[in-house]
Subunit: 494 residues, 2 copies
């Protein structure tokens, strides 16, 4: 049976993915400094073996034959998603992939060197090359998938979302935020005038912060028989569903930064831990893409972790682990801090979407050819002034050079961040409608209702549906910016 | 070029070996408890890919063709060792390997269950099956290698040693030890009568023991840019030469047990860290087998770590890290403890070889067919009474059921332990002859002379020579029991 052949192939691929995931997590957490070169060789060889197996030409026949076999509903869904991924993985000719890989590596290295030097002009030729390759890639992907060019790029990260659907939602959100950011800042000013910010000024020992993080992870529902928390330079969620590795980094002067990071990664981790196990080796059993994954991390970090009800339960824990008494107002002033800034990764949940929408708009122009790489700094600056009232014209390092995405050729990824934030708000709204007293439960440190809803509606579904389908099934409606704007108004509004 | 083809193959194999080594070390140190099943699947799939690539039939032709190519001396040595390993890996038919793998897994599981129950009779049928398979394996290996049957088994673990050479050396050592064990015990009794043993009775915090271990590792020459120390249930040396993972386990009541373990594994680790890097992907660049590896760990643990000179330097460290003052005599009474016991892994360096020689003698009888599995308990007991004056007739769990080796089908491995101890003593003798004041250096915590000698003579040679050849080149003579017996007499004699 061809379906059985694909099943066996998927088991081999899962073994290689498992190995790559653990080797990657190990590299960031436990590898000796001198082990990097051989680790890179080993991972690159394993990735090559994975790619060769996953894209073997005979698989196309297996898929066609399997389609004729007597399959149950699950198997049919598995085959459908397998075909989608096979198409996405095989639609670029080897010659193109080689050219692109070389260009990406060079451009990324150059970027690492030139960003600290604020040197846009030396970087421009590399970015020009990358943009040309992305246009070529978009053509190839569009031809293979029948999608529009930018959609064909997004499809790798967020299956099912189309620019034609997202653009109006983002546009609505942008209009709202341009007015709302000043309002939220005014509210904050007013509050600060009455109650000055209590600084995070203690010395918070790392082992105590770690224990606090572990206690919160356990309460929220992280399964420690299938995962762990350690330290790395950049926090991440890695590993495999049966052994999810999340990391954070600690500052002894600020316990919130590590803690919010831990909650964020816990959201990613719980998605992985609760995917449908019998299909773990098939694409069907994997998480539904970057936007949905981000919605799960943001759900825990923003919808739960920055929810005032959460802090009724959490403040006594802070006191227990760190020996400091904080009032709810004092901590919320930090947790709900809003600030106009140049850097996306440092942005709060109010201003963050504007950073993403700016990139989404420029990316589409770059891919379509309407914008040249050389004109990006001016275009970036114009939007930055318009959306956040800030200029980056003299500091490209804090403008178009700030992210690794473009230098590494990842176009179509940025929307996932804000789609994730909107989806998390919409999920929360659906959940709260069904369970109006969920805040009371959270205030008592009870997360069962939340976890059960998320498991049923999202996690257990794996990749059975496209992102928009999954959202509609889970929340009863299509992506709707109103939930996110309502969330912001409630939390930050006048 | 065929040599180049093999070189490329070796790089792929190295990547898979790297992955398996790191996944294995991770499993024992950092894996979540629920991650085991998927980890086993991943490692078994990777091992299968490794075996399929390493034993592909076309490689035989590549070797033959490469032999005709213009190769330099290193390449010739690399090809020679590659051929030896290819022969050893391909000489068993797949059908046999499958039968044997199934039998080994069952027998090992059964043994884990029955050993704690002291139930020899229920285990016997499984062992009978394993012995039959080992005889078959020995025939197959003998036919492929042209070696005697037991030698063909040993060849997997310790290339080049032959029973006909080892047997007389072991016999000489046995005769010596039967007389020497009582002498060493009498010396110990006499000393204890004058100076009672000072018990290890403090509470030694794990983090302090760890820091002490790290300080000693660094002093002895462990390279922390290419390795690390962590904790596992069973201590081991794993990982890869560029990132060697050693582990220990701590008892808060006894700092010597973890420390001696750390020194032992440091010996293994330094061998791996100093192998010839340009050949790391070829068998030529790998360590020379189990006996030589054990000689390197025992060199550090016994020749250095239990050397009285070592403790002149080490005692102040104990005081610094653990806050306890010990005199040299007090600590040496522990470090040089001798005791007749039933269990090999708990034995000291005086009695240990008798445990190994007993197994070496019985193994040969079992493989040749002169001894039946059913008769092992009586044969074991008779030798145990003869060599150590102890009986195991009523406690097979502490007799022939104590080791995992036979239940898992590993015959021909045991000699490596005592060959390693003898080789370490012979290496020390050669080094001391060349550098008569090496003890003075060690007493000052200076290990450069030792490290340089070992790197030049042993580590840098990789697998260029068979074990006996390497020993003869390093020490100027063939394996000679006199060095080991002289070592024991000096340290433990009257």
């Amino acid at each position: 049976m061809s379906f059985e052949k694909i099943d066996q192939l998927c088991r081999k691929l899962e073994a290689l993915e498992h190995s790559l995931a653990i080797l990657g997590a190990d590299e960031a957490t436990h590898m000796a400094v001198g082990g990097g070169e051989k680790r890179a060789e080993a991972m690159s060889a394993l990735a090559g073996m994975h790619h060769a197996r996953a894209t073997a030409p005979e698989i196309a026949d297996w898929i066609d034959t399997a389609q004729q076999e007597a399959l149950n509903e699950d198997q049919r869904a598995a085959l459908h998603e397998f075909r989608r991924q096979y198409t996405n993985m095989t639609c670029l000719p080897t010659e193109f992939v080689e050219r692109q890989t070389t260009a990406r590596l060079r451009s990324e290295q150059l970027w690492r060197d030139l960003r600290p030097k604020n040197d846009w002009l030396s970087f421009l030729p590399a970015l020009d090359g990358i943009v040309a390759l992305v246009r070529e890639e978009a053509e190839l992907r569009a031809a293979a998938t029948g999608l529009d060019r930018y959609d064909a790029l997004m499809e790798q990260y967020d299956p099912g979302h189309r620019a034609i659907d997202i653009a109006p939602v983002f546009s609505e959100l942008k209009t709202f935020l341009k007015g709302f950011v000043p309002e939220a800042l005014a509210v904050q000013e007013e509050r600060l005038a009455k109650n000055p910010l209590r600084p995070l000024s203690g010395v918070y020992p790392i082992d105590k912060q770690r224990e606090l993080g572990l206690a919160m992870m356990a309460a929220v529902g992280f399964d420690f028989t299938h995962g762990s928390l350690s330290v790395s330079h950049h926090p991440f969620c890695g590993g495999v569903p049966t052994d999810v590795r999340i990391t954070t980094r600690y500052k002894t002067s600020d316990f919130l930064s590590a803690l919010m990071g831990v909650l964020h990664e816990t959201g990613h981790a719980m998605y992985e831990q609760n995917l449908p196990k019998p299909w773990s080796h098939w694409p069907l059993g994997k998480a539904r893409g970057m936007a949905m994954h981000e919605s799960q991390s943001l759900f825990v970090e923003k919808q739960l972790g920055r929810n005032p009800a959460f802090w009724e339960w959490a403040l006594p824990l802070i006191e227990q682990y760190l020996g400091e008494k904080w009032s709810k107002d004092e901590i919320l002033a930090h947790v709900h801090w809003v600030e106009r800034g140049l850097i996306r990764v440092d942005a709060d949940e109010v201003t963050y979407p504007l950073h993403v929408i700016l990139r989404f708009e420029l990316e589409q122009e770059l891919v379509s050819g309407r914008l040249k790489a050389a004109d990006v700094p001016e275009a970036w600056d114009a939007k930055m002034r318009d959306y956040l009232g800030l200029s980056t014209i003299d500091t490209p390092q804090d403008g178009p050079m700030q992210d690794v995405h473009w230098p590494s050729g990842a176009f179509g990824y940025f929307p996932s961040y804000t789609l994730g934030a909107m989806m998390a708000a919409q999920q929360w709204a659906a959940l709260e409608k069904l369970h109006p007293s969920v805040d009371d439960e959270i205030a008592k440190g009870k997360f069962d209702t939340v976890t059960t809803w998320r498991r049923d509606k999202i996690w257990s579904q794996g990749s059975r549906w496209s992102t928009p389908e999954l959202m509609e099934r889970a929340t009863g409606e299509k992506l709707n910016a109103a939930h996110f704007t309502a969330h912001l108004k409630k939390r930050y509004g006048a």
